[in-house]
């Protein structure tokens, strides 16, 4: 038992979870008090002692499933024909009975997943294969019927979709269980390891990871806003407040024992974000724009510009709506950013910016440039950046590429970077958060 737990904690650490020694000891202590044959209680006991952050929980669950897989016998009875399975599926979805869904998942995996010993395919391949063979999406569609707008149908539809998710989870469990039995927990855990949402690379995020990042974004922005506001309030002391000091001296018999200070009026920085939204870095630009606007209350003004080879201001799109997602959609469709051919041309975009908005950059403005500086061998026009630097309070460049790729191929980030206050590598939410904190 001790060995298994040590292996498990090792795996958690390898996946990036900060598990300290004392937490490890707590987990051992907790194990003395929960019934080991109750798997859920065991899981929750470990989770309560080892995982202290919500977004680390999925990683914990994956590792748990691998290390403490249930060793069940295979499903009894004869293998079912696809027709029987389809009937079972409809039945299970309609009844919503959890046991039935689980049973179905086991049988379907046994029959359809194509898991063979020693065949090195990924777990998600087997899951995909099972669900496709089961025609799960088709069955769901048939049950949902034609899109009808009534409230009851809508509720029933959501219910069916939730059950479908449960079925998918069941299939994933079963596939994992079988693969663990075949390959052993260590290999399996390694294969299933996923980066935590804050460490996912912007440029190579899968669809699910993007969704997870968007969920992580909102609390992150909230935390950031609180922190920035606090920093401004606390880090400076104003001049002596004479009236208040005298008033408070009364309770010390007229001795001004407790000097009071005026709170300084916080000056909020004004920010201009200039983002490359060409295909290669679009995801990064989207996240950064969303993030900056989510904390826009912390700046006196946020203006956003997007470019590919032409440049356009999109501030109004964000100001008009409450809904950032919708605003980003509109940025993609409405902004006029193509000038000649629709490939990034930093030189032209920057000089166009200088011509149209250059005067509006003032010593109060911080300018943030976003992009990989891959200029397709166009002329750099680095003088614009130099001029901006002279006018603006600060000028930063955020590059979503790993540092080792900088200045390779058509990337000219140092040409621009020479004129910036700082060039930051910004590949994931963690780095983005750190940057905002630094400039706030």
């Amino acid at each position: 038992m001790l060995d298994v737990l040590a292996g498990f904690v090792g795996e958690l650490r390898a996946a990036g979870l900060p598990v300290s020694l004392s937490e490890n000891l707590d987990a051992l202590e907790a194990m003395r008090h929960v019934a080991l044959d109750d798997r859920e209680a065991f899981r929750e006991g470990l989770a309560a002692t080892l995982v202290k952050r919500r977004d680390h929980r999925p990683a914990f669950d994956t590792a748990f499933e691998v290390y403490f897989a249930v060793r069940r016998p295979g499903p009894g009875g004869d293998p079912l024909t696809p027709g029987e399975l389809a009937d079972l599926l409809t039945e299970a979805l309609l009844s919503g009975d959890e046991d039935r869904l689980r049973e179905l998942a086991r049988r379907a995996v046994a029959r359809l997943s194509g898991i063979e010993p020693g065949r090195p395919m990924s777990a998600s391949y087997h899951v995909f294969r099972t669900l496709r063979a089961l025609d799960a999406d088709g069955a769901l569609e048939r049950l949902l019927g034609p899109a009808s707008p009534s409230l009851d149908d809508r509720l029933a539809g959501d219910e069916l979709r939730a059950r479908m998710e449960a079925l998918r989870a069941g299939v994933e469990d079963e596939v994992r269980r079988r693969l663990v039995a075949d390959r052993g927990p260590e290999a399996m855990a390694r294969a299933l390891r996923r980066p935590l949402p804050e460490d996912v690379d912007f440029l190579h995020a899968t669809r699910e990871e993007v969704a997870a990042m968007r969920r992580a974004m909102e609390p992150l922005a909230r935390r950031m806003a609180v922190r920035l506001a606090r920093k401004r309030r606390h880090h400076r002391r104003g001049p002596l407040d004479f009236r208040s000091t005298v008033r408070h001296s009364l309770s010390y018999g007229g001795v001004p024992a407790e000097p009071r200070f005026r709170h300084p009026r916080p000056s909020k920085p004004e920010i201009m974000v200039i983002a490359d939204i060409s295909g290669s870095v679009a995801a990064f630009a989207r996240f950064t724009l969303q993030f900056v606007h989510a904390i826009s209350g912390q700046f006196s003004k946020v203006r956003s510009f997007v470019f590919i080879d032409g440049i356009d201001e999109v501030t109004s799109l964000f100001e008009g709506s409450d809904d950032l997602g919708e605003a980003l959609q509109r940025v993609n469709t409405e902004a006029d950013v193509v000038w000649a051919e629709g490939h990034s041309d930093y030189g032209h975009a920057l000089s166009a910016f200088w011509e149209r908005w250059g005067r509006e950059v003032t010593p109060k403005t911080s300018v943030v440039l976003l992009g990989d500086a891959r200029n397709n061998y166009h002329s750099a026009q680095a003088w614009v950046v130099e001029e901006l630097r002279k006018r603006a309070r600060h000028l930063y460049w955020l590059n979503p590429e790993p540092r080792s790729y900088w200045d390779t191929g058509d990337s000219i980030v140092s040409t621009y970077g020479a004129h910036c206050d700082g060039v930051y590598e910004c590949r994931n939410l963690r780095q983005l958060e750190r940057f905002v904190q630094e400039i706030g």
Partner: protein, 290 residues
């Protein structure tokens, strides 16, 4: 010391008896907290019953609830203890004419009599069973968090003039956080962690049935399912459990026994607090015209 709870199942049953429907995870963590003598850090979206959990545990175990509401600027004097300096002044004045030496006097004015116990110290010194609730701990600054550490790990408070006050009996401690900032590792390491999320529709229905007297099974079921659907939309502020309860009560007062799209849309302002959220939910729930 004898453990308070028999098993996780007993915790769950006990909580149910005081009308709090806990899931297995919550009951398990409360049970472990008692056995391991560790504080519980409860996190989760607003309005999922974090504070309520602590209160219910207090009611269930017959403990006195001592609550420390955290806010920015909370300090030692408000959280731990404070010398009652007005009383000390009086004492000094009264002694002025007597010939007491300074040493005697200072021993005297720094004694228990002049100590004002604030929540943390009060919880440590209590003879009877108490439950200490440190509410919204994410609101204090990181530096202030350090104040809590000694209490949370060793259940003791050090007072330079008096020495160390140790807990008579280890209190149950709950900390709640709305996650407006990341708590320090040191604090998290000392706690068991529980994340309370929105309940499943089944559990939410049971909560409505337990908390709203006179609600019919059918209505509770509908309420829970509609709220589930609404939470799946991308909203600024998804409805909390307490808002669900308010909504169920409203429907009951209005005499609505079956929610249709129109009555749902008409009362959405109970569930949602942003105009854009209300508009969006109404659009989603309302049948398309014609």
């Amino acid at each position: 010391m004898a453990p308070r709870f028999e098993s996780a199942a007993a915790v769950r049953a006990g909580l149910e008896a005081v009308d709090y429907l806990a899931d297995d995870a919550a009951a398990g963590v409360v049970f472990l907290a008692d056995r391991l003598e560790k504080p519980v850090l409860v996190e989760g979206p607003a309005g999922t019953g974090k504070t309520e959990l602590a209160k219910s545990v207090a009611r269930m175990s017959g403990s006195r609830l001592i609550r420390l509401q955290c806010y920015e600027g909370l300090d030692e004097a408000k959280a731990l203890y404070e010398w009652n300096y007005k009383k000390q002044l009086l004492r000094i004045q009264a002694e002025r004419h007597a010939d007491a030496g300074w040493d005697e006097l200072s021993d005297d004015i720094f004694s228990e009599e002049f100590l004002l116990a604030r929540p943390l110290l009060a919880a440590i010194r209590a003879d009877e069973p108490v439950l200490l609730l440190i509410d919204e701990v994410d609101r204090v600054e990181v530096e202030t968090e350090a104040l809590l550490l000694e209490v949370l790990s060793d259940y003791q408070v050090s007072i330079p003039e008096l020495g160390t006050v140790e807990a008579v009996r280890v209190p149950l401690v709950f900390l709640t956080s709305n996650n407006t900032r990341e708590l320090s590792e040191a604090l998290k390491r000392r706690c068991l962690y529980l994340h309370l999320d929105y309940p499943t529709p089944e559990r939410e229905k049971a909560i409505v049935l337990a908390r709203v007297p006179g609600v019919s099974d059918h209505l509770a079921d509908q309420v829970a399912r509609i709220v589930r659907t609404i939470r799946q939309l991308e909203l600024k502020k998804p409805p909390s459990v307490s808002e669900t309860l308010d909504w169920a009560r409203t429907l009951l007062l209005l005499g609505i026994s079956h929610v249709d799209a129109a009555s749902a849309a008409g009362t959405l302002n109970i569930l949602l607090k942003y105009q854009s959220d209300i508009a969006r939910a109404a659009r989603e729930l309302q049948p398309a015209a014609g």
